[in-house]
């Protein structure tokens, strides 16, 4: 209900500014948005090889190192673990971001995995957090207006991104409106996707590797390509 109210307020505002058609276009685009995980190349190949005894047997030997050390001074890290959002904790929720072009947050890694909608649709919710760069209007954004089911994600995004859509906005701007890549993680702005339950490489439909920056190791890149190909996924290298 709160989300509907926020959506209607946003849409009326767009109408009053003469931007309603653009906002509708944005909403339609976001209905086709995907959930994307960002990882390092090594982490992604590790994910792709999980389940293989050769890899998991050795991984388990180091697994216990994920616990924060004892002592009060590490309590903050334990609090992060207790939030069930990080590898410090199990079981956990996997976090992705909404994207229109299959590219996730670059500050989180240069490999992007697009999750299959059929796998996550019933298990995912989306969340928009306040952006420090944009003053929050408490009348328009009650807390309940910040979370939505996967199917309602387009309405949530309209409720939050509508003020950024103006007369000069074009459809080419939509990916950047939904996911703004910052110079640092602190400056990134995105809509977070929380996915419950296990994910495997078969939960993915597409993978993109961006090679700008640190040169990827050929063996790991090719190993990843082979593992993805084995489950019918192409590795797109940009």
């Amino acid at each position: 209900m709160a989300l509907d109210r926020c959506y209607r307020v946003a849409f009326r505002d767009a109408e009053s500014r003469g931007c309603a058609p653009l906002v509708l276009g944005f909403e339609a685009a976001v209905k086709g948005s995907v959930a994307v995980l960002s990882r390092s190349l090594l982490a992604l190949d590790h994910f792709a090889s999980s389940g293989r005894p050769l890899y998991t047997a050795y991984d388990q030997r180091l697994h216990g190192g994920a616990q924060a050390p004892p002592g009060e001074s590490w309590d903050r890290w334990r609090r992060l673990a207790n939030a069930e959002l990080s590898p410090l904790s199990e079981p956990r929720i996997r976090l992705a971001v909404l994207s229109l072009d299959g590219i996730g947050v670059r500050n989180y890694g240069n490999c992007f995995l697009v999750l299959r909608e059929t796998v996550i649709a019933s298990e995912a919710s989306v969340f928009e957090e306040d952006s420090p760069g944009i003053p929050r209007d408490r009348r328009r954004e009650p807390a309940a207006c910040r979370r939505a089911t996967w199917r309602e994600r387009a309405r949530l995004c309209v409720a939050h991104r509508e003020p950024s859509i103006g007369a000069g906005t074009t459809p080419a701007d939509f990916p950047g409106l939904l996911l703004r890549q910052g110079a640092s993680p602190e400056e990134d702005r995105f809509v977070e996707v929380s996915v419950w339950g296990p994910l495997t490489i078969r939960s993915c439909e597409r993978a993109v590797l961006e090679t700008s920056g640190r040169k990827p190791r050929k063996a790991i890149q090719e190993a990843l390509r082979r593992r993805l190909a084995a489950v019918g996924i192409d590795l797109e290298v940009r």
Binding site: L54, Y58, L62, V105, E192, R217, A223
Partner: protein, 264 residues
């Protein structure tokens, strides 16, 4: 400053006061981040290393090292992976020698690979073939890995026999295992067994390892670990072994106290 490093994710998270920052391997640039970024930045990584009070220069060094160690281990597994085609495994064999030149990287890879017997699917013969003609570091690693499988199985089995209450709980057991593997104790014990060296030397080294010493009940864990490897000492010499461990521990404590004394 507290730091959490993941070589697999290629990231270091730095917490100082209320300020959270991160450093990506190879970038050299430390940037601010938020708590909400932490699970995204770490992803699925479980190879976490925790540092307290390390300076930025040390964090940078440890991050680059952890990243290279994680890459080297993964390349070694790619080399052993029979499901991957020859060009990929050959590329892994080509990349490994440079990494294995570093004793810290080679030690880490051996530390992990020597911590349990090779999985049945590992293709050692293929790995030898793909590394043939290249620098000796890879061949040497594979040769040792093949030759030490018996000792590795013994040492791994001895660890598995340690009752969980000795560690405290299952998570404590997992944490102690990770510390022992990361600090190269499995490799050291395997090498000690293979060389027929006395276990006391291994115990002294293990007890002087600052990371493993911080594991709760470390002396008792070590005692239980080596007991099956010295069955002749179980009874009545088990007491002698325990005395030996206690003497080593006391000696190390004395040494540590002496180091804290002001110079005369």
């Amino acid at each position: 400053m507290q730091t959490v490093i993941s070589g697999r994710a290629g990231i270091a998270l730095l917490l100082e006061g209320n300020e959270l920052r991160c450093l990506r391997a190879g970038s050299g640039e430390i940037v601010r981040c938020r708590e909400r970024d932490v699970p995204h930045l770490l992803g699925d990584a479980t190879d976490l290393e925790f540092l307290d009070g390390a300076k930025i220069s040390e964090v940078t060094r440890r991050l680059e090292l952890a990243t290279a160690q994680a890459e080297a281990l993964h390349l070694a597994l790619i080399l052993l992976d029979p499901e991957l085609p020859p060009p990929v495994r050959r590329a892994a064999a080509d990349d490994l020698p440079d990494l294995l030149e570093s004793p810290e990287i080679r030690g880490f890879v051996e530390g992990v690979l020597f911590s349990r017997p090779l999985a049945g699917e590992a293709d050692l013969a293929g790995a030898f073939a793909f590394s043939a003609g290249g620098p000796g570091a890879v061949h040497d690693l594979l040769f040792r890995l093949r030759g030490l499988q018996g000792e590795i199985a013994e040492v791994c089995s001895a660890w598995d026999q340690i009752p969980t209450p000795v560690f405290g709980s299952e998570p404590d057991r997992a944490a102690a295992l990770a510390a022992a593997v990361r600090q190269g104790l499995f490799r050291d014990l395997v090498s000690t067994r293979a060389a027929y060296e006395p276990l006391d030397a291994f115990l002294a080294r293990a007890l002087s390892d600052e990371v493993f010493r911080a594991v709760p009940n470390a002396p008792q864990i070590l005692r239980e670990w080596v007991l099956p490897l010295r069955p002749e000492l179980e009874s009545p010499g088990g007491a002698a072994l325990e005395t030996g461990i206690e003497q080593i521990r006391q000696g190390l404590d004395l040494l540590a106290r002496a180091r804290r004394l002001p110079p005369r």
